[in-house]
């Protein structure tokens, strides 16, 4: 049990902090498109400074950072009020998936522009009829000569309108059990057969998209991990999903809570013990979230890959963020229910937290079955 950073970890943190101090990210712009361009410019600067893909091995242009250093990186990013790099999906999901399953030629072609942010990636997994039950997806890919022709629909695709490449899972064999007939492709988004339609959320923002695929073409060379092996490759992507991001989100939660506490101190609501008690509870949950995340890191370092314990972190984070935002009307008052305010946005946006990246219900199933070893539920 040693909860202080090692000299190396502290050195890494100090170095990145110093870099951030010299390279401030600036203020977040208002519109979603401006925000994206801000994040793209930010990734360029990170890359020039050698800070994009810190967790990537040195041979692929990364820093070979340890898991703890990667956690520190995301914590510091959050602390500096910086955006996530524009190509976060490529950095966190696409790149690491290619490192495991890609051929040398694929790695050479796709990894460098992920790192520089030159090519943006999106994730084409979920479908209208395949959310939690991902393996039930129905997008079809049929081989014609040296290429695949894809038809179907994807949903919840963030950054699709900015993306060059899509991590696409499609059904290539309908004759075998559902997990076995899938293949993982890298699909070029810039083609006729791919239509992107913004999906407006309850916040009013189009953060995600729908993807309509009408005979979209994918070269056979863009199959990752072999035909029929898509489920396994997709799992690699999903395993990476919660690794570093959790630390970023955890810091964001911390910052939001600190703002709420400041607001309560400023307008006197803090003096109401019922309000203070709730803030204290949120403070405890936010800190415990951090403990769980670091405990997960220690376990991952020991056993080699992230375990299903990450589901606990996801559960606690999403539900705490909802509790926090639900408390804002009681503290901030009318402003938090006024359209166009940050608090109003956060209150609405938080509802997505217990759905995106695995619903809380599915997370609880995963915890019960994979951590507690309970018998598989009849769905």
């Amino acid at each position: 049990m040693d909860l202080s950073f090692t000299e190396e970890e502290a050195g890494f943190r100090d170095e990145f902090r110093a870099w951030l101090a010299e390279n401030p990210p600036g203020e977040a712009p208002g519109t979603p498109d401006e925000h994206f361009e801000w994040a793209r410019g930010w990734q360029r600067r990170l890359h020039e400074g050698g800070w994009a893909g810190v967790h990537w091995p040195a041979e692929y242009g990364g820093r070979g950072a340890t898991l703890t250093q990667t956690a520190i990186f995301f914590e510091e990013l959050g602390r500096a009020h910086a955006p996530l790099p524009a190509n976060t999906l490529g950095l966190l999901l696409g790149g690491p998936t290619l490192m495991v399953w890609g051929t040398p030629a694929q790695k050479e072609r796709w990894l460098p522009p992920i790192l520089s942010g030159e090519e943006i990636w999106c994730q084409g997994f979920s479908e209208p009829e395949a959310g939690s039950d991902l393996a039930a997806l129905g997008t079809r890919a049929v081989k014609h000569g040296e290429e695949w022709v894809v038809t179907g629909q994807k949903v919840w695709t963030s950054a699709a309108q900015h993306s060059k490449w899509c991590m696409l899972v499609a059904r290539t064999d309908t004759e075998v059990p559902k997990h076995k007939g899938l293949t993982y492709f890298l699909m070029d988004m810039e083609q006729e057969g791919v239509q992107v339609r913004p999906l407006v959320q309850i916040t009013g923002d189009p953060e995600f998209n729908e993807l309509f695929l009408e005979e979209a073409r994918i070269a056979d060379a863009n199959v990752v991990g072999g035909v029929g092996n898509g489920w396994k490759v997709a799992l690699t992507t999903l395993m990476n999903e919660r690794a570093g991001l959790g630390f970023f989100l955890q810091v964001r939660l911390r910052q939001l809570l600190d703002r709420l506490i400041d607001a309560a101190l400023g307008n006197g609501r803090f003096d109401d013990p019922r309000v203070a008690e709730k803030l204290g509870m949120l403070h405890a949950r936010t800190e415990v979230l951090r403990f769980l995340a670091y405990r997960g890191l220690t376990a991952t370092e020991k056993y080699g890959q992230p375990g299903p314990e990450g589901s606990l972190v996801k559960l606690l984070w999403s539900e705490t963020n909802q509790m926090l935002t639900e408390l804002t009307p009681e503290i901030v008052g009318a402003e938090s229910l006024t359209a166009g305010t940050r608090w109003g946005y956060e209150l609405l946006r938080a509802r997505g937290n217990t759905i995106e990246g695995g619903t809380s219900e599915i997370m609880r199933n995963i915890v019960a079955e994979r951590v507690l070893g309970m018998p598989r539920a009849g769905r």
Partner: protein, 339 residues
């Protein structure tokens, strides 16, 4: 950063779990509880092994280990619902070690560390410390007064024994104003350590509730399938795991802070107590619920956990009290929990 027990600490944990699985089986807990007394044989054995002196300096007859090692033992004792005066004796010893003068330490700590003296620690609220664990039968009672920040060492005569709903240990009320000797350096350090220790025990209670429940719902069949395959049951069990694991993080962070980062101890101790108080209550309630009808019977043993949790959660203040303290801490400065 290594947020887990090291090999030595794991070894202590394994040894304790093994020992208590036979020496503090539910059969033995039940026997002690039904007779309204401690398991004296077990207590003697623990004293011979030096357990009460785990976090006491070698100069005062202890083993000179830290709060993390003590938390490991307390977690296991909570897991076993062991019917011994361990908690109270350790809390008194820690408080006197932390805040007593050298003479005061000489006088009480070695006896408490060796188990020759039995102790308890209570915190005054409106002139009385209620339901202090292990107070009835204690030789030495440390009574902390948050209003003055002072702590007084009283004899066991100051205790009014109470039969609590938890029959696995002896409780008592302790009133202010008795003849006693003030500890030289106040109450805070002792109380913070007591919070960590009590939280570690509650963590063990929560973990046991979870383990018993998971084992039961895997076996128990209804409609031809194990009830553990029902999502309603699974989701409640998953919540129990989150309660227990969150508590594990908070307890061991606080135990680590006691030795390595004392400036963070006060806040960490409140965090641990707030979380485990709630977690122990909700996991043990869920344990009864998920055991179904049998869970409500005297023979099913889950009730020992529920009862411990109720008393333990209230001791030194429950979630509400500590959430208020934590709000004050959060308002003072940004959190700096790790690193």
């Amino acid at each position: 950063m290594h947020f887990d027990l090291n090999d030595d600490q794991r070894q202590i944990q394994r040894t304790a779990r093994e020992l208590l699985s036979t020496r503090s089986s539910f059969e033995r807990v039940r026997r002690a509880a039904e007779h309204g007394r401690y398991d004296e044989e077990l207590w003697r054995e623990l004293c011979e092994l030096g357990w009460p002196g785990t976090a006491i300096d070698e100069a005062h007859g202890g083993q000179g280990l830290g709060m993390v090692e003590l938390a490991v033992l307390l977690e296991e004792l909570g897991y076993a619902v062991a019917a011994t005066p361990f908690l109270g004796s350790v809390l008194a010893a820690l408080a006197i070690q932390a805040a007593g003068s050298e003479a005061q330490r000489e006088r009480w700590v070695p006896g408490l560390a060796a188990g020759q003296l039995r102790g308890a620690l209570g915190v005054l609220s409106d002139g009385v410390a209620e339901l202090v664990p292990d107070a009835a039968g204690a030789d030495v009672v440390v009574l902390a007064d948050p209003a003055s920040g002072r702590a007084t060492v009283l004899s066991g005569d100051a205790v009014e024994p109470v039969e609590a709903i938890d029959p696995t240990r002896r409780y008592g009320h302790v009133r202010a104003g008795g003849e006693g000797e003030q500890l030289e350096n106040g109450a805070a350090a002792g109380v913070d350590r007591a919070l960590v220790a009590a939280s570690a025990e509650l963590l063990g209670v929560a973990q046991r509730a979870l383990d018993m429940t998971v084992a039961y719902v895997k076996e128990r069949k209804q409609f031809g399938v194990p009830v553990g395959s029902f999502q309603a049951v699974q989701h409640r069990a998953a919540q129990m795991l989150l309660d227990a694991e969150g508590g594990r993080g908070a307890v061991y962070y606080a135990a680590w802070a006691a030795g390595a980062a004392p400036e963070r101890l006060e806040e960490a101790a409140s965090m641990a107590k707030a979380w485990t108080s709630q977690a122990a209550k909700s996991t043990t309630a869920a344990a009864i619920q998920l055991h179904g009808g049998i869970g409500f019977t005297w023979e099913a043993d889950v009730h020992w956990l529920f009862k411990r949790a109720q008393l333990g959660a209230r001791f030194l203040g429950g979630a509400g009290v500590h959430h208020l303290r934590l709000a004050q801490a959060a308002a003072r400065r940004p959190a700096h929990a790790l690193g």
